[in-house]
């Protein structure tokens, strides 16, 4: 251990790092490795068959498609909300700012049943769509609505601090040089915000892919149509198909790790971009 670190007068390094590594191994790493070791008992064709059945492929399409659409909506409206909260003054602003984090704090099951009640055919919002023949609850659109809700704070909270730290001199210079407001926004402000915006987008997307609680109530969960991949894992588990459930879990885990890598690269880019200005 001692060779690993630089000298410090402070005590407790061995104890603190030792406990941290032991805890992480027992709680996180060993259980996670169980999924990979279990799956390695399958041959490659068995694994491939388990994760590419038509029902599974349909669940990927829904999970990734709805997550992507929700993250796009969150990127656009998250940027708008961050802009309005940083730049403008209006009554109730502090309350709005605090409530943006609601999807982080509200248990997903509560969000799920509330959104289902609202968007059902007789719900407060659903009743306006029913007459024009649009069903939201119990369809893939419902999945998109739930994923938009749970991903809402990510873009706001990543863009907001960058926007707050933006030097007014940049915009003044642009204006002095004859740029109009839209040009200043698209050529000066947006490039500075872009890494943070993309980080927020990636965080919202990553969260949406794994989301379960808020989706299962509103989705209707029809195989091939409105069944998300995490639900399919549970279905397989309930049918005692441990190998199938674990194989799907491994696919989800690999995608999670990839997203984590992408997010780390984006955050590094974001820090470099903002510190360069």
């Amino acid at each position: 251990m001692r060779a690993l670190r630089q000298h410090s007068v402070l005590p407790g390094f061995n104890l603190a790092l030792g406990f941290t590594l032991l805890y992480l191994s027992l709680i996180v790493l060993i259980p996670l490795s169980a999924a990979f070791i279990r799956t390695s008992a399958l041959t490659w064709p068995e694994f491939w068959d388990a994760v590419t059945t038509p029902r599974v492929l349909a669940s990927y399409r829904l999970t990734f498609g709805a997550s992507f659409a929700a993250a796009v909506v969150n990127a656009i409206f998250g940027l708008l909300v961050a802009w309005v909260l940083v730049r403008y003054r209006f009554p109730g602003k502090k309350l709005v700012d605090a409530l943006v984090d609601l999807p982080f704090a509200l248990p997903t099951a509560v969000a799920g049943i509330a959104l289902t009640a609202l968007y059902a055919g007789n719900g407060w919002i659903g009743q306006f769509f029913e007459p024009i023949g649009v069903k939201i609850a119990f369809t893939p659109i419902g999945v998109f609505i739930a994923l938009t809700f749970i991903g809402l704070p990510f873009v706001v909270r990543t863009v907001q601090p960058v926007l707050e730290d933006l030097e007014p001199e940049l915009e003044e210079a642009a204006a002095t040089l004859g740029a109009n407001r839209l040009q200043t926004f698209s050529r000066v402000i947006l490039p500075v915000l872009l890494p943070a915006l993309m980080t927020g987008f990636a965080l919202a997307f990553a969260r949406a892919i794994g989301e379960y609680g808020s989706v299962i109530f509103i989705a209707g969960n029809m195989p091939m149509i409105s069944e998300i991949t995490p639900l399919l894992i549970i279905t397989k588990l309930e049918q005692y198909d441990y190998a199938g459930a674990t194989a799907l879990a491994v696919v989800m885990l690999v995608i999670s790790f990839l997203m984590l890598l992408i997010i780390n690269v984006l955050q590094w880019w974001s820090r470099r971009r903002t510190s360069a200005i």
């Binding site: 603190a16 790092l17 406990f19 992480l24 809402l152 609680g213 989800m252 780390n264």
Partner: protein, 300 residues
């Protein structure tokens, strides 16, 4: 938030000076653009945040206060409340100790593999809740690694309370550590080094020097950790087995009531969790405010 924006929010500021007024003109938008943007943002937030929140309380009280009180005081609901409190009462302190230890090692010392360690701590955030539950089934379930051994000694972890506690611990691992690490890194270790040089031992240094410096960050992380611990659904759902009155947490109880078409009762129990969320947000805002106040005092 910068200190500047805090003072403008806290004090009724006088009209900006003329040069500021000029600046505002060239780096701001016409009034109609401002109003349209504010209106669009608020409409979006109303539809996606405020209406769902209000609807929880509306649906909960739709059948009257008596039905509401009956739903949250019936034995299964009380058992669910107790289990949720128990799980949080174990998961939060355990992750608090872990968070402090991890932050102490990472923020106060230099060692190889540090950024990898930080990424590993964040890992549970990126794992789907369903997968988080599944991996514990693979370790402790009947078909799992330790399953036969546990069965021999008649120890139940999956479909029992220990599994629920473990799944809750897993999903809340990063909360306190990720608040403390950047905070303690920013604070440096000069104060602790001074204490040690003056003869304090490790624990004295921690409790008298470090803890007062990190108390708001620690509280902030604890609040968020607790909210997630009490509200977790997916991971707990996989390991719980849904035994009414015995292995049902509050969120799982909401699901059962909802699937039985007992909507008023489901929303009544859900409203307790929504209240928890509102209290969490209020505390979080308060801690952020105090934290900024402390930063301002430290600066001057």
């Amino acid at each position: 938030m910068t200190p500047q924006s805090m003072t403008t929010a806290a004090l009724p500021t006088p009209a900006p000076a003329t040069d500021l007024g000029h600046r505002r003109e060239i780096t701001s938008e016409p009034a109609w653009v401002r109003k349209t943007l504010i209106g669009t943002a608020l409409t979006f937030l109303t539809l996606f945040l405020f209406v769902p929140l209000i609807s929880v309380f509306y649906e909960a009280l739709k059948k009257g206060v008596d039905a509401y009180l009956a739903a949250i005081t019936e034995p299964d609901a009380v058992a669910a409340i107790q289990l949720t409190l128990t799980a949080a009462a174990i998961a939060v302190p355990v992750n608090l100790v872990f968070g402090v230890a991890a932050a102490w090692a990472i923020a106060k010392f230099e060692f190889r593999g540090k950024s990898l360690l930080i990424t590993l701590i964040d890992l549970p955030f990126s794992v789907s809740p369903v997968v988080s539950g599944l991996i514990y089934v693979l370790v402790f379930g009947l078909q799992g690694w330790l399953g036969p051994w546990l069965a021999e000694y008649d120890i139940k972890i999956i479909f029992a309370v220990p599994g629920i506690v473990l799944a809750t611990i897993f999903v809340t691992v990063p909360f306190i550590a990720r608040e403390l690490i950047p905070l303690m890194q920013a604070q440096g270790s000069e104060e602790e080094e001074a204490a040690v040089v003056l003869g304090a031992n490790g624990w004295q240094t921690f409790f008298r020097v470090t803890l007062p410096n990190i108390k708001w960050g620690l509280l902030y992380g604890t609040i968020l950790c607790n909210a997630r611990a009490m509200g977790e659904f997916g991971a707990v759902s996989v390991v719980s087995g849904h035994i009414r009155g015995s292995t049902n947490t509050l969120p799982l109880h909401v699901e059962i009531l909802y699937n039985e078409y007992n909507f008023a009762a489901a929303f009544a129990v859900a409203s307790l969790l929504a209240l928890l969320a509102l209290v969490t947000l209020a505390l979080k805002t308060l801690v952020e405010f105090r934290n900024r106040q402390q930063e301002n005092i430290d600066e001057h």
